[in-house]
Symmetry: C2
Amino acid sequence: MTDTVQTDADAPALPTPDDVLAAAERIAGQAHRTPVLTSRTLDALVGATVLVKCEAYQRGGAFKFRGAYNALSRLTAAERERGVVAFSSGNHAQAVALAGAILGVPVLVVMPEDAPASKTAATRGYGAEVVLYDRAGESREEIAGRLQAERGMTLVPPYDHADVVAGQGTAALELFREMGPLDALLVPCGGGGLLSGSALAAQHASPGCRVIGVEPERADDATRSFRTGTLHTRQPGPDTIADGLRTPSLGRITFPLVRELVAEMHTVTEDAIVEAMRFLWTRMKVVAEPSGAVPLAALMADPAALRGARVGIIVSGGNVDLAAACALLAR
Amino acid sequence: MTDTVQTDADAPALPTPDDVLAAAERIAGQAHRTPVLTSRTLDALVGATVLVKCEAYQRGGAFKFRGAYNALSRLTAAERERGVVAFSSGNHAQAVALAGAILGVPVLVVMPEDAPASKTAATRGYGAEVVLYDRAGESREEIAGRLQAERGMTLVPPYDHADVVAGQGTAALELFREMGPLDALLVPCGGGGLLSGSALAAQHASPGCRVIGVEPERADDATRSFRTGTLHTRQPGPDTIADGLRTPSLGRITFPLVRELVAEMHTVTEDAIVEAMRFLWTRMKVVAEPSGAVPLAALMADPAALRGARVGIIVSGGNVDLAAACALLAR
């Protein structure tokens, strides 16, 4: 892939399949082994054997706990004492807060002032300190940087970090270990942490598996980056309902991993995401958040491509505002 | 218990724990082994270790498939050829239809004319013939009796049948086999099939376990029957939202089993059912129907009684009308 990825003298070391195996040992007993659900109705609908790995049942309600716990458990004693900082209004913040509570690491989360009260409350509920900032007047990077400098805290980024990527890969690793090799695995792609980690897991446990990343059409930066070999950022326009996938772009670690290890990238419409959510809720009884329904949306929109195959999909999380989700679904 | 149950010369033979074990072998490979979920948030909330057996993930979306498949698989070749009849507008009808489709047994379901179109469609979707009747002008028992006589079909009742009870008991049996003995098991009670079967399973696999039946206050006939030793029927009044538990009374098989094997009966309010549903949906990511949330409602309403215990609860099903459920929950 040297023709497409820019030379980067300070390029960070990329995680390997061995790092995913090590992460799996580290999180054992702390992360849930999430269930794999099947549906004959779904299999008949798409003409494939579909194995649904449900990270909605992970601690904190999303796969993010895997990466956060793996990253925090690799800190030195001195780093643990000084604590960590994360900036996020979503699942990553809660995952870092939860991992910090378990490991006795102080956690500070930087959130916008207009974040839903339920999210700040949930993050504080896990014992984290929440610092609010004015989205219009301040940059969260500056704030986090200042807090790092003042308190000596370690930043835990949401995806562009080798230990985070390795931790996220443990979900796919569990799926392969439980169900054996697969023909294809569909994974949601925001910043690419879960997708990169899944691809590393497949390299080890199911080398023939086509790992396929899926994005909303409205946040298709990774698909464009993948196809062109140049890092694209998300274009202005209406936000996707898949709020977990609104990340601006792949990162310095996830972009080369996605380019090298992922077989295909696909995009899905907002309507397809809602229909996949509806199927997961009403037929499979899984409360999936919009981001978590994105891989199923791709499979349902184009089942011909994987006819007869053994296909895994990762439902990445289930953290929804119930009123907002009902407004989407109950119509 | 001879002082409380009336002498009944034609008393049907009651199923035994061995019948549950035999049912478990019969349904193996056909019924799903449903997941057992845990939540540290729930454990902290109620001060107990709670194991949630999720029959929402059973085929057909409810535990009913277990009993239906067990009953149909015990028919003779001649009986299978003539087919079976069930009258139900709920989960039992779909379960019998699905079991019939698998076993090649024709299924006729008698449903009221005003049943939701989604339910008649789902039942037909499983390959059953649906006969509609006018709730005001006809009795469904008469209709079913006539169809039985004309076509020689076998009636599969929803709960008062030894093979149905034995089949329903396999859910609790799986829970005990996977998680070991429990201090208490909370089970929803409508006609008492799931509750009786669960108590039989406990007798074999966890003899010290207190099996506790839970009903809505608005359908407390089994609680009154249990406490008085006389069979009570449901009193007129507003319907409970737990539509699966609106059965008129326990039956000739389930009443003596409940009296003999169940430790306690509890009732819960409508508000408590909604709050338990909300917890299951938003915190545990399980789409539970109101009837399925009833045991958790009892545990959340009175956690002191089971403080420190290892407690199983059976979430009996997840078949909801999404718009109706959202109207309950998203407020």
